[in-house]
Symmetry: C2
Subunit: 253 residues, 2 copies
Amino acid sequence: MGTTQLESVPEPKYWHLKTVLSEALDQDFAVGEVLPNERELAARFGVARATLRQALEQLELEGRLQRRRGVGTTVAPPRVGVDVGSAQHGWPGEGADGWEPVDATETVPSAAAVRGLLGTAADQPVHTVRRTRVTQGQPVAAELLYVPAASVPGLSAIDAPAGPARARAVLRELQRLALDGQDRSVELGSARADDAKELDRLPGAPVLLVTTRYFTAAGTAAVSVATYRADTCRLTFGDTGDVQITHDARVAS
Amino acid sequence: MGTTQLESVPEPKYWHLKTVLSEALDQDFAVGEVLPNERELAARFGVARATLRQALEQLELEGRLQRRRGVGTTVAPPRVGVDVGSAQHGWPGEGADGWEPVDATETVPSAAAVRGLLGTAADQPVHTVRRTRVTQGQPVAAELLYVPAASVPGLSAIDAPAGPARARAVLRELQRLALDGQDRSVELGSARADDAKELDRLPGAPVLLVTTRYFTAAGTAAVSVATYRADTCRLTFGDTGDVQITHDARVAS
């Protein structure tokens, strides 16, 4: 009973090294500190470069290390908890939700998956609102919010033709509708080039994709696809009971 | 207005190849079909092997491709939506939640992060319940549920000393407590060797870690750390309004 079954599973060499490195990070390095280069580290731990690289990749996936071009490998600060649940039961842009409208264009979404979620045909125009979310001074997410033109018939084409003002106009029209409900999913993805740039990542970096569908009585009124940095973010979903506020103080970890 | 700003961002070569490959997967390949080998593919698309490999990695991150040792690269089926929200507002093991108890041991969690979430000291014993979740015949998640011995003082040491029966005994004692609320977070991680084996993945494969804290009036009664396959799973969070049932039929996508 004293030990768990976990120890009976043989671990690959890089995995053991990862554990050793992880402890070294806790004890010998401060957040933001640059690690010695791969050659030095491999020599220090008596492992092959390939093994070291695998271990470093693991630690990067787990958010312990950051690798940046021109800087090297640094010790990452703890991930930031970003609320994607309880605080967002209204329409996008309602209340102070940390999102900044950037732009809005009218187009036909090229992704069949988005058209499928919206239930729009391949020739139906859709307003695409671009927003970014900043937490503690860092860009943490980029969003494309798809609003079929049919959802916001009152939107004038000449009023605020572009930029943040246009984005706000779309959001304002959306907020006139009676929100019936929403659902949300989270999955692993890779950063598109434009999102990567905005989030200060390389294209293809692992990201968490949060897809939200907003429903009115008439059906799906809007779909949001938000790309969160997977290296720095922990997505939090608030307490679904009625004791939300009581426990909020404990959420920091 | 006709085009979006997105097109103005230059995309790296592998990114363009990824888009081309993605369309080819839609049109020319069936789910489960084995792709030609890297040399053939590189020749067919007129790119370097390194570029091809980057594009394949992207598609794997996005869940479009699966790479398995001894099989090669196959076209992945669409990700399975796995509910981690609305259906689980009770204690673990209450109702038919798709989880199977595997084992339970009594130990001191080695991870300081887990002790921090539980608020237990480094020498306090904790029951560790291991469960697995199977959806549509596939293992999708492995869970470690940490229950401090102090949370379940009525648990007898001699009753059901090991295995699934022991796990069920811990869950049963937990369910006697009045659940006050819970919160949940999702982040990117890498599969531990034991979880990887259970989930039919290689150690270090990207996974989605779902951490749930269960609260009673006395504080944190239990913490669950569930490891979901990131390649095959899309985590869904049910509608938070009261129209849950109405829209459930639309969740399939």
